[in-house]
Each structure stands twice: as structure tokens, then as C-alpha cells.
């Protein structure tokens, strides 16, 4: 297996061919903010939080889906990147309806954390206040589309780890949403095994356990750990 050598923020790094820039940064202990990336499932480059600059390439590249190449000179935290990252987070907030104070995920939300990380104290984009639905037809879980950031972590975990493929992405642009089954209420989708993996994979308060109220959706470390290693170890249920 061949090895590529490159630099991240002037730090020299050697890493196997085929790995991503995000892998390389992780190995070198260089933090890059992410939202749609979830260890253990495939990457899709949906959120644009992990954008980096590569010398000689005049567009910003998402680190989670860009493979390393020989001699790459990568920067992860230039003023330009800081500005774009903050804009990406502001756009996510302005796009949906995020009322943190009454959200199940308040204090345990990856979107909230990332907002702090990029220094967002307000959104410079005008809030859309879209009219989105809530589906609580499932006996144990619910999905509030107002808080969904379309990261598709639920889609991938359900498909790639549980093998049920209950979730998918419907429509495009502003009308885009996460759809269950054949556009049925979640509770009517027979393929759903009620395993709850999507609840743990969801970085926000969009998918939650029924009966959880404000600030009660605490991330379960053990379950997240399971999601990360399940596919490698061929464990499909827990």
C-alpha cells in the first residue's frame, strides 16, 4: 500500500493512499469541524463544515470526501475558511426552525456546539421560518423536520448499519426533506426495526425518543461507539 506525504497547516504528515484529508487531520491531531461526518458510515459531503484550502486549487474542498494526494499543502483554519464556515452554520440556522430553548437536544446538540465553535452570535441571513412537519406516528420515536439539517446521518446509519433503509431524501432545494418508507408516516413503515440507531446518529434534536422533553436528549456514548464500529465488526443488531 503506498503512502502519501503532505502538509496540514505546515505540519508534515504521511498517510496511506485512499484516506481522506479528514482522516489525515485526525491522525495528526488537527481539529476540523464536521456535522454530516459520522465515523463508521460512508461520507457524503453534505454540510460543508469541513472545508479546507489546498494550495494550487482555487476552490474550497470538503475534507471528509477529498482523498489525500502526494505533496498537498492543506490549510484548515485560514480567515477565509473561518468566514465560510460561519456562513455555512448561519445558513443552516436560517434555513430551518431552531428554537434551542425548547428543543430536546438543547445543551447536547452538535449544531449548537458548532455554532459556538465558529463564533456565531447571530445569523446575518434572514430566517426563512419554513412550514415543516412533525411526525410522531412511530410508537417510540418522533421526527421534527424543523430541526433537521439534512446531514443524512440517519439515512446512512439505517441503510449501512441496520440494513433497513427506512430513510431517504425527498425533493430538492428548499423543499428537501428526510422521508420515511414510501413517503409514509414513520409508524407505518414495516421495514423499520425500531432499533433507534437514527436517534443516536442524529446530531440535532430532529429525531428523538418520545417522552424526552427540553434538553433531555443526551447523547449515549456507548450507542454512538456501537454505530462507529458495527459495520467493521459485522454486528448488525445490538
Amino acid at each position: 500500500m503506498s503512502v502519501k506525504t503532505l502538509t496540514i497547516n505546515d505540519q508534515p504528515i504521511a498517510i496511506e493512499e485512499g484516506k481522506t484529508i479528514l482522516d489525515a487531520a485526525k491522525e495528526a491531531g488537527i481539529p476540523i469541524p464536521t456535522l454530516c461526518h459520522l465515523e463508521g458510515v460512508s461520507d457524503v459531503g453534505a454540510c460543508r463544515l469541513c472545508l479546507v484550502e489546498v494550495k494550487g486549487i482555487n476552490k474550497l474542498l470538503p475534507a471528509c470526501v477529498t482523498q489525500v494526494a502526494e505533496g498537498m499543502e492543506i490549510s484548515t483554519n485560514t480567515p477565509k475558511l473561518q468566514e465560510y464556515r460561519r456562513m455555512a452554520v448561519e445558513l443552516i440556522f436560517a434555513e430551518g426552525n431552531h428554537v434551542c430553548s425548547v428543543c430536546v437536544a438543547n445543551n447536547n446538540c452538535e449544531l449548537q456546539d458548532v455554532a459556538v465553535e465558529v463564533g456565531m452570535d447571530h445569523s446575518r441571513f434572514v430566517y426563512r421560518f419554513p412550514d415543516r412537519g412533525v411526525d410522531v406516528s412511530h410508537s417510540q420515536f418522533g421526527i421534527d423536520h424543523n430541526r433537521c439539517i439534512l446531514c443524512t446521518r440517519c439515512v446512512r446509519v439505517c441503510d449501512e448499519v441496520e440494513g433497513a433503509h427506512v430513510w431517504d431524501v425527498a425533493q430538492r432545494g428548499a423543499a428537501c426533506y428526510i422521508v420515511s418508507g414510501m413517503n409514509q408516516p414513520w409508524g407505518e413503515v414495516e421495514a423499520c426495526t425500531s432499533c433507534g440507531k437514527c436517534v443516536d446518529a442524529c446530531p440535532t434534536g430532529a429525531i428523538f425518543r418520545k417522552g424526552t422533553t427540553t434538553a433531555e436528549k443526551a447523547g449515549d456514548r456507548e450507542k454512538l461507539e456501537f454505530l462507529v464500529t458495527a459495520r467493521e465488526q459485522g454486528q448488525w443488531t445490538r
Binding site: F93, N97, H98, V99, C100, S101, V102, C103, N106, N107, Q112, A115, V116, G119, M120, D121, H122, S123, V126, Y127, F129, P130, D131, R132, A215
Partner: protein, 182 residues
């Protein structure tokens, strides 16, 4: 030393930010040595917003005509305007009505469809302020100088925002303690 002219106003919010302000407890006594409270629902009886205010904390989103007029007056008469709490910064809970559409749709829902008895729309021109069609964060309407998110911002966060201003310094609005929403 000339005292800082200090004001707070309460638009469409639950007053929780003001309660949190009062939670600064004994530090309020220290603050009183530096500021003259010239307008505030919790610290002053004046009914008219005065001229030449130095600092004003604005709680709440803009939901009705009265909020809008007061906000514009505050901006015109204030040097440093602080967007105080999530309702001011994001429109927060008051804006959840935006999903229903116009003011008319909201009133119909609240007073007719959900009314248990005597269903009727409120109508008292000049007394009950008209609802705006859309609830907005204040910076979508006027220039804001400092954003202090939080629902409510903790007393510590409020103090850490105001204290530097007393010495003519800018507060650092960064990190979890200062800018986390909710």
C-alpha cells in the same frame, strides 16, 4: 465621573432576560455606581424613552406595531444597542407563530379555532397594538452593536457583557459561556 445612561426595554419576550438581569444580585449595587437607569421595566418609572442613552439592552423579538415603534425610537436615541437574549437575536419562541402565516391566520387560530367560549377576534384600535405579519429578530430591522444570545442569558453572561463596557472596553462575545443559544 459622569454616569452612563443605561436603559433596558422589553419587546416580545417572556421577561426572562430581565429576570436574569435581576439575578446579578449584589453586582447590581456595583452597577448602580456607574449607571443612571433612565428607562427600564425593572429599574425605572419613566414612561418615555429619553434622548442620548448610552447603552440599552433590548429583550424580545418584534411582533407588533408597538414593539416596532419602540425599537426604532430606541435605535435613534441610543449609542450602543445590545440584542439581549434569544428572542431579540433569533426571534426564538415568539416566531413559532410565523409558521402559521399572516397575523390574521394567527389570530384566527388563537381566538376562534382554539377559543373555548366567546370566540371573537380582539379589536381595540389604539389600545391593543396590531400584530405584525411576521415576528423578526431585531437586527433584521435596526443596526445592533452587540449580540448576547441565551434563553435567558445567564446572570454571569450578562455581567461579562456589561462589565467591560463600564471601562470603555468591548466584551468578547465568544465561547460557550458567552454565545451558546438556548
Amino acid at each position: 465621573m459622569e454616569k452612563i445612561k443605561f436603559a433596558t426595554v422589553w419587546l416580545a419576550g417572556c421577561s426572562g432576560c430581565h429576570m436574569s438581569f435581576l439575578d446579578m444580585d449584589e453586582w447590581l449595587i456595583d452597577l448602580a455606581q456607574y449607571v443612571d437607569v433612565v428607562y427600564s421595566p425593572v429599574g425605572c418609572d419613566l414612561k418615555e424613552y429619553p434622548d442620548n442613552v448610552d447603552v440599552c439592552l433590548v429583550e424580545g423579538a418584534v411582533a407588533n406595531q408597538e414593539n416596532l415603534e419602540l425599537l426604532e425610537e430606541v435605535r435613534a436615541k441610543t449609542k450602543l444597542l445590545i440584542s439581549f437574549g434569544d428572542c431579540a437575536v433569533t426571534a426564538n419562541v415568539p416566531a413559532m407563530r410565523n409558521m402559521l402565516g399572516t397575523a390574521e391566520a394567527v389570530l384566527k387560530r388563537g381566538y376562534l379555532e382554539l377559543g373555548d367560549c366567546n370566540q371573537q377576534l380582539p379589536y381595540a384600535p389604539g389600545i391593543v397594538p396590531e400584530l405584525l405579519d411576521r415576528v423578526t429578530p431585531i437586527h433584521e430591522l435596526v443596526k445592533v452593536d452587540i449580540f448576547m444570545p441565551g434563553c435567558p442569558p445567564s446572570a454571569d453572561r450578562i455581567k461579562a457583557t456589561i462589565e467591560p463596557l463600564l471601562n470603555g472596553e468591548q466584551p468578547k462575545m465568544e465561547g460557550r459561556e458567552m454565545i451558546k443559544f438556548g
